[in-house]
Symmetry: C2
Subunit: 287 residues, 2 copies
Amino acid sequence: MLKNPNLNALKMFDAAARHLNFGLAAEELNLTQGAVAQQVRKLEQELDVKLFHRLARGLALTEAGKNYSGAVRKAMKIIEQATQKLQVPSKKLRLSVPPSLASKWLVPRLKSFNQTYPEIKVEIVASETLADFETDEVDLAIRMGQPPFTMGLIAQPLAAQMLCAICNPDFATRVGKINEVEDLINCELIHDHHSQWSDFITDLPNTVGGMKFNQTALAMDAALNGQGVALVPYLLAQGEIANGRLVELWRNKKPSRTGYYIIRSEMRKVQPNQQTMIDWLLMQAGN
Amino acid sequence: MLKNPNLNALKMFDAAARHLNFGLAAEELNLTQGAVAQQVRKLEQELDVKLFHRLARGLALTEAGKNYSGAVRKAMKIIEQATQKLQVPSKKLRLSVPPSLASKWLVPRLKSFNQTYPEIKVEIVASETLADFETDEVDLAIRMGQPPFTMGLIAQPLAAQMLCAICNPDFATRVGKINEVEDLINCELIHDHHSQWSDFITDLPNTVGGMKFNQTALAMDAALNGQGVALVPYLLAQGEIANGRLVELWRNKKPSRTGYYIIRSEMRKVQPNQQTMIDWLLMQAGN
DNA sequence: TTAAGCCAGTAGTTTTTCTACTAGATTGCG
DNA sequence: CGCAATCTAGTAGAAAAACTACTGGCTTAA
């Protein structure tokens, strides 16, 4: 009662105030003349204020009505604009990526994306988990793993895992040529939190240490630094191998369904921006 | 559809966004939790935008929700304020007065009113007709006449008409003392649009001219100027007679119901401001 | 493990809102 | 002067919406 005008009635008042004619206002709102007249009448009762002079031909705003209509018009405009803005799909694109893929693969290439699509504002969320898909409002994600992922998500392969053993050139000359992965058993092996050495080297002594990192990117940095041999997805090392800063000692060529996947929500349909990003990612990964 | 969110649902969204809790929002709006949740859900469908993250305990605004809520809050505030202002009775008081009464009686005294009641902003509408009571949004009016006035109006006597014949002192000495009104028949008679000389002087020759004005105030001015004798309501001349600038040659002492009345609408009830004005007017008129 | 807090969902009732008309008032035109 | 056009007021009844009262499920805190 105190601060409670019926807002839908207010909208009718606004239309009526603009047209100074219930019929035209009704037309604008896809209603009948009676509906608008009735609502305005009720509004006037509710507020206990006369808003219009009813003339034989049309309406005229009262003093109070004039003041009120100004404010109401302003408020309606704000809502209208905000609503419109809401419905224009945002040009932002939030991408959730594992931290190591972000630093070693995505970020170096992102400049080219920005140059090609300057209108798309990319936001990178470095994250390992998928739980944030909803709450972080991520549009797309890249994850390591193999299908099926959680229910409600759609996965599309980006690149196979293809682990490879890498070290820097100096270290490589020290190791010499190897034939099998097992030959590396006596090198300093650098571990990350996936620590998949044991999948390839049986009888790996627990004691044999080397460093351990919680991120693959850090393991790679250590390898670049000559601190040992790291086992990392080929995708991450590709660049550094090509420019000679890393040497590929071995690569797992066995095909596997495990790999990087582009993940998106089943709920929302793909926006053009998102499709652009997906295409670009696939191209960058060589598909 | 395009620019058509249900505004009442928007109000619920606003409340929910402030409390981040449907239950509390519902309490604020005197509704149940379900009603608010339902409306917000519908609003989200309508806009095709998720506004809240539903968490196990409470709500969190989405990115879109945050933006929208800001705008909506602003709009609601505007409406709230405008509505409040609307319901505070205006401190304005619009008074419709016959032009001559305004210039010769009311305006000279208005200064004292303003000093006594500085918080009341008085607006004078000089007008002869009563038709404007509705469309001009006049709070009170003063009119010459006799009851009953138009239906729907309440009249309260302010002062009797009490016509008097006046001229300036010089002119008065020339005329000399008179016993009856008819003695004035040979003077220059000044007429206004009421032209009531003929009510008192029978056999008034049409030809006898003198000046004619469409406002009593102008007739009075002519009399002040020594251009003749005017017949005006005593109320208007009172001041000038008291200060000696006019001389009263004759006064109609016969009582009559015709006079100045304070008129107000039967519809609206008397506001305190209006009562103040009525009391002040009566006092000024000597009641 | 239980209790409490909070959202989602649903069926059914209550309330509101719309429509379709009719009536009355005023204006403009022939 | 009277007829046609234009508008608003008002009303009853139909249609639509909004609200309540619950139930169920999930999550956190004790």
